[in-house]
């Protein structure tokens, strides 16, 4: 089906403008993070400074325990990812390869929590974490995130694409479920498991709503919490430092995205609905 260039060229322009609107803030942040405040105010439209400086990064490391904060973010995201991949994978495996009583009902109940707003669980969760003595601790942030509907959903969709006949043959060969999982299902599902893990990692890395309730002291902060400290002084002197902290906050997610975008887009594309 050929469509004339006359129709498609204006749309290319619309799409490129959209991309500019989406990507410009990121480029702007990177550029501003290497400017002095003076420079940023004098030349707000020049993306990159003629005299780049690292002083904004220096200020972040001097004023907050920046290494500790970055490490906290990394630890929380890693622990959440490892646990969530395991719990979601096990659940998905059960939903796809087993028949048991109440399967459809249970799947429906678990998945429908995607539609639960966090406000209907936040107060009790806050009380649970406080009563466990885990407020203002990394474990307090991690615990409620160890399993969720989105993970089960994505991995169930991924496992459904693996032919059941393969599993059947393996069963006839008397392979145990653990062997089947390790030697057949996991290798075949690796792209989906990888991209789901990366999605978990980034979601936990960026998580803000829950940590902001739990974490109080700066040495326990994650990067998004450290970052929001720089907005309180609107019009103030912290603008370029905020840009530097933004760059530090987004550099890992961006790197992971650029490396794995094919897998990740593929997984979301094939996840489809239901």
């Amino acid at each position: 089906m050929k469509i004339s260039k006359k129709v498609s060229v204006p749309w290319h322009i619309v799409f490129l403008i959209t991309i500019f609107l989406l990507i410009f803030p990121i480029v702007f942040a990177v550029g501003s993070s290497f400017k002095t405040l003076q420079d940023a105010y004098n030349n707000p439209l020049s993306l990159f400074s003629l005299n780049p400086t690292l002083e904004n990064y220096q200020t972040f490391f001097d004023s907050l325990p920046a290494l500790q904060i970055t490490l906290n973010t990394f630890l929380i995201a890693s622990v959440v990812t490892i646990f969530k991949v395991v719990t979601s994978f096990l659940a998905a495996y059960a939903f796809v390869y087993f028949i048991f009583k109440g399967k459809n009902t249970l799947y429906f109940i678990l998945i429908s929590t995607i539609f639960l707003p966090f406000t209907v669980t936040m107060i009790p969760n806050y009380l649970i974490i406080s009563n466990l003595g885990l407020s203002d601790s990394l474990w307090g942030v991690v615990l409620p995130q160890l399993a969720d509907a989105m993970g089960i959903f994505l991995l169930t969709q991924a496992l459904r694409t693996i032919p059941v006949s393969l599993i059947e043959v393996a069963r006839l060969d008397d392979m145990s479920h653990w062997q089947i999982m390790r030697d057949i299902v996991l290798p075949l599902a690796r792209p989906a498991v990888t991209s789901t893990s990366i999605w978990f990692f980034i979601t936990a890395w960026n998580e803000y709503v829950w940590p902001v309730l739990i974490l109080k002291s700066t040495e326990n902060f994650t990067l998004p919490l450290a970052l929001q400290m720089y907005i309180s002084s609107e019009g103030g002197t912290n603008f370029t430092v905020a840009m530097a902290v933004s760059v530090i906050t987004m550099i890992i997610p961006l790197a992971l995205y650029l490396m794995f975008q094919r897998y990740i887009i593929g997984t979301f594309t094939s996840s489809g609905i239901k």
């Binding site: 469509i3 989406l22 702007f28 659940a91 707003p117 966090f118 409620p144 059941v164 933004s246 594309t269």
Partner: protein, 302 residues
């Protein structure tokens, strides 16, 4: 497929399945289902999270919520948020996905990657970046507008404007995800029907409304609902970071207001009642969705 699955289950290993489900079920029971029930319970009590005793007040919290003019303000604001979020993150990506697949047909990989990229970045980062880019005095947008003699409104202080800008920031994060799913769904539609329609010179907009939208309706409805339910929750972050619901509740929505009641004003019962009311509205939306499903909307993957 069902027959072969039965062979596996014939080994009477259903217990194995329950074992595999246990970790997820336990975690979700403790941090999702029990808290949900406990929030319902709290909505019938007067409490402030600190007092040792909770006082049973029956429906009083619900009555207070419904009598409070701020409730209507935040519900109205939520409707405005939903409207803007749906236009930018449902209507636009639906059309874009169609255009990319059927009109442009080239560079799909590039456009998909670029649109999806902000979905990976923290909304706190997004909020900070846009606060400066849209700064009414010294931000780049204000300066460019100045060249044309235009003045940037002080959006964070103005009713209406503030919701619009916070919705834009939220959209920056969710646009790409919605686009990817809608594109996948439209991409899965059989080419033959559309080829035939094009040979008959059916205009593009008719193809879109009469063929593409109906044949991608399962994904379409999912995106529609997820944009409403999660969009309001995503908007929490820019609200909290930039305006704290202000000025005078002008940018608050039901999600932020429930948080504000619980963790700023410590009115636990009021917050719980508001959350449950919000939840009821969401459930009604879901029931509407499943009614559609029962009527047999088109499932592209089956």
């Amino acid at each position: 497929m069902t027959a072969s699955l039965k062979k596996i289950s014939a080994n009477k290993q259903a217990w194995f399945a329950y074992g595999m489900l246990l970790p997820s079920v336990v975690i979700m029971a403790v941090f999702m289902f029990w808290p949900f029930l406990y929030t319902i319970y709290l909505s019938f009590f007067d409490w402030n999270m600190i007092k040792p005793t909770k006082e049973f007040v029956g429906l009083q919290n619900y009555i207070n919520v419904l009598k409070d003019p701020i409730t209507y303000k935040v519900f109205w604001n939520s409707a405005v948020y939903i409207f803007i979020l749906l236009v930018i993150n449902f209507t636009v990506p639906y059309i874009f996905a169609f255009i990319l697949d059927f009109v442009i047909g080239k560079m799909n990989g590039f456009y998909k990657s670029a649109f999806f990229l902000p979905a990976f970045i923290s909304l706190v980062v997004g909020s900070i970046l846009f606060t400066w880019i849209l700064n009414p005095i010294s931000g780049p947008v204000a300066i460019v507008m100045g060249w044309f003699g235009l003045e940037m409104p002080i959006w964070s202080k103005l009713d209406g404007w503030v919701i619009f800008v916070l919705s834009l920031i939220t959209s920056w994060k969710i646009f790409g995800y919605n686009f990817i799913l809608l594109y996948a769904s439209i991409n899965g539609i059989s080419r033959e029907i559309i080829e035939a329609a094009r040979l008959d010179n059916v205009p593009l907009w008719k193809i879109f409304f009469h063929i593409v939208v109906p044949m991608s309706s399962a994904t379409g409805i999912y995106i529609f609902i997820i944009t409403i339910v999660q969009g309001l929750q995503f908007a929490f972050t820019p609200i909290k970071v930039i305006t704290q619901g202000g000025p005078n509740y002008a940018s608050s929505n039901v999600i932020y207001h429930a948080y504000h009641e619980a963790f700023v004003l410590y009115r636990t019962g009021h917050s719980a009642a508001l959350s449950i009311l919000t939840m009821v509205i969401f459930v009604i939306l879901l029931i509407l969705e499943f009614k559609y499903v029962e009527r047999g909307i088109y499932y592209e993957n089956k």
